[in-house]
Symmetry: C2
Subunit: 252 residues, 2 copies
């Protein structure tokens, strides 16, 4: 199932006791729909943090009673709160797993580039008030693409052993009529807070607070203390989870 | 002073006991900035209801201590919560009054035209799921322009005696990439809930639930019971308050 959610009012994706989470709200609705004696667990492609949004999160679950795809979409949308929207559902083989069979993920990060914070964007963008040279960021993004050790860009609390990941594409565009700059990263997978830490470093490069090729040094030093800022959760969107290996390269 | 606000978390503009209102939050900040012994009252161009937004609300107040325009903007933005943004400030003559010297107001109403509600737009648009013929709405909007008795379009609780108002322009446009249709109304002033009731009726016309020239009949019958639906507050934006009489016609 593919779904969108506004992360503002969720304590992240993963179930936590006494917290409103995406997974918790989904499991409640799926079990209301299923009406079975067995409790249905919902599995996501990965966690998103509190305040992080999704345009195309993917989840899977096993139903004993067969329900047509569109019936699942309509049924769940009528049961779910308005900050989650089921977009599509499809039956998959028993080998499919939302997390373990995913080949790539695409994240978007929106930055509102204005002096004062726009009241309508405070939950939906990050914010940067200093002048930016977008061409410097574009040069730095060439250093992001490829297979690198991202240890300088992982938050404490990460439970993965290897910090080596592959980024297939990394782009930035300006949307002047919205006073926004928008990053898009497409990669094999991302470490805890990796996109938000990279975006903060890229904005420092764009405002000449950090050397343009500093990522090359950061890959070597493997030290989070060299990259202390994390861009806010509000700007981050999980846009797409890719399951076809042949979609991994030259997707854009 | 011109300001924008996200109306979602406010119980409307006007001060009410034990409620978070735009006027209440503004008066608190203005009096923090003023540091005077006299309490400064803030006057708006008019009320907006709970959940209604503003892109260009206008307020005025009297300060004993003179502060430069940009100092007022920066000072208040640093004191105000993130859902209000002061955009501009200027010194005005003592004859100026945000409400009583206003000549016109411009309102926008955004409708999300999709089957399911988009989670990111639930607080920022109205929603209409039925097919719409935009050309029917455009024909009906020609009946809206002009001076009419809008008694069929005023909510109970209105305190004004006359329900006659003049609308200078009334337009609708489609934004297909956003799945939105956007109304814009420019007039001498609007009755309580008038825009929201008119939008609901116009959507009924666009989906052939109401005859295309029904507004002409509604002006005659002066009966709110013929127009029971009020489009939700979330789609309504006070875009501009106009104080120059020569801006009133052919503004677009």
């Amino acid at each position: 199932m593919t779904l969108a959610y506004d992360g503002t009012a969720f304590a992240g994706f993963q179930v936590q006791p006494r917290q409103r989470t995406v997974q918790g709200v989904l499991e409640k609705a799926v079990n209301q729909m299923n009406k079975g004696s067995n409790y249905v667990h919902v599995f996501g492609s990965g966690r998103t943090d509190a305040g992080v949004h999704a345009l195309g999160q993917v989840i899977h679950f096993d139903l004993v009673n067969d329900i047509p795809d569109q019936g699942i979409v309509n049924g769940l949308n009528s049961l779910l709160p308005l900050d989650i929207e089921i977009k599509t559902a499809e039956h998959v083989s028993s080998e499919f797993h939302a997390q373990f069979t995913a080949h790539g993920k695409r994240y978007v990060y929106r930055v509102s580039h204005t002096k004062a914070i726009n009241p309508f964007k405070r939950f939906y963008t990050g914010h940067y008030k200093y002048p930016l040279e977008i061409d410097l960021i574009k040069i730095a993004l060439q250093d992001v693409v490829g297979t690198h050790d991202f240890s300088s860009f992982v938050a404490a609390g990460s439970q993965t052993k290897s910090h080596i990941r592959t980024i297939y594409s990394a782009e930035v565009k300006e949307v002047p009529q919205e006073n926004e700059i928008i990053f898009e990263f497409y990669g094999s997978g991302f470490l805890y807070n990796q996109v938000r830490i990279m975006v903060a470093a890229l904005l420092e490069i764009g405002s000449r607070r950090r050397p343009v090729h500093d990522f090359l040094r950061l890959y070597q030093v493997k030290d989070r203390n060299q990259c202390r800022v994390t861009a806010p959760a509000s700007g981050l969107y999980l846009k797409e989870v890719v399951y076809q290996p042949d979609k991994l390269v030259n997707n854009d």
